[in-house]
């Protein structure tokens, strides 16, 4: 199950790991995505902190952490082909995190 933030990120918790991505709505609003700036593995962010940025032909905006945690993987495919995000925003996660607190999901909107 995905949880959504007001700023249109989603988070999906599976065991002790969670993936974070952008909502279909956000991606549709952005239009053709040309660049995604992702953090490095090992970076640690708090809930609500900006961890990256997405740039489309129309706009650029920050991407915020739905819950806090440490980055354990990034979706490398997006570096070379950011348009994958337009094709399937729910399949294409941005980062995978660990070391989060599930209680931080409480104020997010359920799918």
């Amino acid at each position: 199950m995905r949880y959504y933030t007001k700023t249109d990120e989603w988070v999906k918790v599976e065991g002790d790991k969670a993936t974070i991505g952008l909502s279909t709505h956000a991606v549709e609003e952005l239009g053709d995505i040309v660049f995604i700036d992702l953090p490095s593995v090992g970076d640690k962010f708090d809930k609500g902190e900006a961890f990256g940025a997405v740039e489309s032909v129309k706009a650029a905006s920050d991407i915020y952490m739905p819950i806090g945690g440490t980055v354990v993987a990034i979706n490398e495919a997006l570096n070379d082909s950011p348009e994958l995000l337009n094709q399937n925003p729910l399949e294409q996660y941005l980062i995978e995190i660990e070391g989060f607190d599930v209680s931080e999901l409480a104020d997010l909107k359920k799918e």
């Binding site: 660049f35 700036d37 490095s40 900006a50 940025a53 740039e55 706009a59 650029a60 920050d62």
Partner: protein, 437 residues
Amino acid sequence: MFKYFPHTEEDIKLMLKRIGLKEIDELFKPIPNQIQKEASIQLKEGFSELELVRNMQLISNKNKHLQVFRGAGAYDHFIPSAIYPLISRSEFMTSYTPYQPEISQGTLQYIFEFQSYICELTGMDVANASVYDGATATAEAMFMATSQTRKDKILVSKTVNPSIIEVIQTYAKFRHIEVVLIEEQNGYTSLESIKEQEDYAGLIVQQPNYYGLIESYEILSNIVHENKGLFIVNSDPSTLGILKTPRSYGADIAVGEGQSLGLPLSFGGAYVGYMATTEALTRKMPGRICGVTKDIDGKRAFVLTLQAREQHIRRAKANSNICSNQSLNALWVTIYLSLMGPSGLKAVNEQAYTNSHYLKEKLLQTRLFNSVHDDNFIKEFVLEANFDIKQVEEKLLEKGFLTGLNIHDNKLLFAVTEKYGKEEIDQFVEVLVDVVR
């Protein structure tokens, strides 16, 4: 009469009439008298054209035409006369930055050509549309490195021009970047001194270095890359007509001052900085990149391909806020390179090499100087003088020569371009010996 003024006398009269005024000065009436008085500037009546020309000639007569044997970052190269009429065309000379860039195809085309030349000279994948000067280009390269590696320490060799180091330190101060100066050994960057360092964003070196020496850039590059830092090279682009490209020994960012490519010395500026990098680092580079594509009818079209979007809407987070380029000077460089071609630029450097080595030899023969570094140099070299430098420098100025720059103690940094051959050098040395004795 003046095509730049949008309003005719008629227009102005009409506008004044509409708001019920007689002359333009009345518009300033609401400003209190006292302030008007305080702000008044004592300007003389305008000159006639004849008077103006005479006046300017009087001022410019104060300039001395010197034979220049000094460089240290700005070089007295020959400037082909074809540049001036081209650069003076009003489409180039007086046009302002195109805010709707694609409407100015000519501007985008020459920027694209400038970038292509810089890529060819440096061997890098991409170049930007130019920045203010070589020193700020180097400081911007530091920001690219600290942003890419997420480290806040940068190494700078002491063999880099001290004025460039000062600009780097100024830029670093306000970003809280630690600048570590790497010791030099006999005029070269000390490898031991670099090896003592770890956890840094990159190393900045110069090619040829401040003393004109060509260092072992490949070895430096390898040390930096083993430490996951970026290798940043500031090159005199003219010498790249003959030296190895920064890319060939693994530079991640190539920057430098474009003045040596046909721009006059003009009292120290305005010059033009260039920046080039690898494809992987393209997004970290400040400024603009022009590209070429096809329009809807399949015709060639130049476009603004890339500019960091942060500069407009995420400014606080931008890696750099530099959006400007030195367009006219970039065009200058472009025309110069198109006139010289690869063989011309090579010849310039071969002559600068021969001339500078000849001058060093001649100066050493006078026994007025001691050698300081080895002979692995091009265009510039350092000698230690065993006479009073200050006095001799002034006397030489009177005789029409600008001698080497006093860099420290009794050391002089000489430079010779293709402009001064055997004859001029012999004469210079003769006069110098005369003046000293």
